[in-house]
Amino acid sequence: MISQHLPALQVVIPLLTAPVCLLFNNARVAWILSLVASSVALVIAALLLQQVLTVGILTYEIGGWAAPWGIEYRIDPVNAFVLLIVAAIGTVVMSFAPRSVASEIPEQQIALFYAAYLLCLAGLLGIAATGDAFNLFVFLEISSLSSYVLISLGRDRRALTAAFQYLIMGTIGATFILIGVGLLYMMTGTLNMADLAKRLPLVADTRTVAAALAFLTVGISLKLALFPLHLWLPNAYAFAPSVVTAFIAATGTKVAVYMLLRFLFTVFGATLSFEAVLLPTILLPLSLVAVFSASIVAIFQDNIKRMLAYSSVAQIGYMILGLSFVSVTGLTACILHLFNHALMKGGLFLALGCVVYQLGSADISKFAGLGRRMPWTFAAIVVGGLSLIGVPLTVGFISKWYLVLAALESGQWWVAVLVLIGSLLAVVYMWRIVEVAFFQPAPRQGSQRREAPLSLLLPTWVLIGANIFFGINTDLTVGVAQRAAVWLLGGAS
């Protein structure tokens, strides 16, 4: 009975818990509610993924209105996977939250923080679950507006300007998406994605559809911070509270990548958009530039949160690179990296959250000698860094491996070489942390710095452990990613 309503419950539970948090207006109650809502979302996402893998696509008609007219939720292998990662990160981040939030956000704002977090979670899950183009825009705005609020809660006053900058760029991106959806509606008279996919080929050669594709691609690229539209990201990640950075870095851009996949492959269909408009010639070079420019900028950052933010821009480059090959292996690499990068960046930003909790800052100058004072935290950073670089036995290796395979498969061996060189740049910026933390003597004052409390370390190590677990045991991730890739390309033809 209830299993039939899972696709809707996935989104509705966090959405309705948010106002309840506000009504109680108590930090502890709000936290418990958020943790429960996130875990329930995780359980639902796991059930959905399992159902999709055994039964096939699930559809749910909101309010009982039939599909092309009413809003339809459509769960297939691709978004079931995205739902799982978003809900999983949400749950882990929430178990990390109470101590870190209490130290970074004023007491009277904590309930508000949890309410905004739940709205953001609901928005992100909604984007992934919905099969309706306009509904996607609404959820996008729910998640964006709440993430602007979350970012502005940072202690540094620069969090405010970062949130403002993100608001401006995010709104422009969302409005572009709105224009794109409007143009599609103009040509086809439908907003349902599956229906759009059927009707678009009939009007494929019109300029309106080409314009819609352009608006959607640019709008979503703004949201996923594809070079050169990434300017909002570094400040937003650097000045947001640690918990928010970990959550948004691990989920926000991933869901945007999913949106791009959804529109390019399901709605437009690979043949239409790629052969007609030649996206590979635009997205492929841009993604490579993203990898190199962002990695090089990352090397010169002194604020480690900011450094990892630039590294995120580079990693997004890898995802888009995989996407731009338009092959099963390429898409597998893209979806795998989407999942894996959420694990590594989630873990790394949580580890940094531990550092900020103890030090009050993420500046590299304060890291001297910390490797011995906070061994578990820095071990987590090292493992996360190795994963980021793509060392075997970590998840980073798996996705890089598929990326290189896809490059070789498409006959562009030089892309494979560039991917490897890009990984070396990651070695350079991760090495800077290791060098300062382990090989520099600790300053004499401040010697009372100790290891972060267990309640912070445990969630961090859950994510870092997942990096190693899924690096060795690849059946689940690769299997699902491959099925999703085949489904995306097959559903498109």
Binding site: F134, F137, L145, R157, F164, G182
Partner: protein, 117 residues
């Protein structure tokens, strides 16, 4: 004179570009928000224009009329207007907070105060 028939769309493009221009060039954060608002408003007109059916009336079922305008874009854009209002409110709230902590709403002065913008 086919391009005259697209009058609404010319208005949309003009408003959109004017708003976008204001967002990019104005240093005053409030003016940026106003530009952003203009930019969003142009999209509302785009949606409303596309729902117009020639000779159609308001979509209220009546025996006298056979052709109705398409009500769906109106409904969609009501949602988008709400989103726009929320964005503006949040943007202005942020401007208030920025003004409280920096004492100014001019982008270059904020940039001068700390190099984050």
């Amino acid at each position: 004179m086919a391009w005259l028939g697209l009058y609404n769309y010319w208005v949309v493009i003009f408003l959109m570009m004017a708003g976008f221009y204001a967002v990019i060039t104005r240093g005053n954060l409030v003016k940026k928000i106003v530009g952003l608002n203009l930019f969003q408003t142009s999209v509302f007109i785009l949606y409303i224009s596309m729902s117009k059916v020639q000779g159609g009336t308001a979509p209220i079922v009546d025996n006298e009329f056979a052709i109705y305008s398409n009500p769906l874009p109106h409904v969609l854009i009501l949602t988008a207007i709400v989103v726009g209002v929320a964005t503006t409110a949040l943007g202005l709230a942020l401007v208030v907070r920025i003004r409280e902590s920096y004492g100014t709403v001019e982008e270059d002065e904020i940039h001068h105060l700390d190099k984050s913008f």
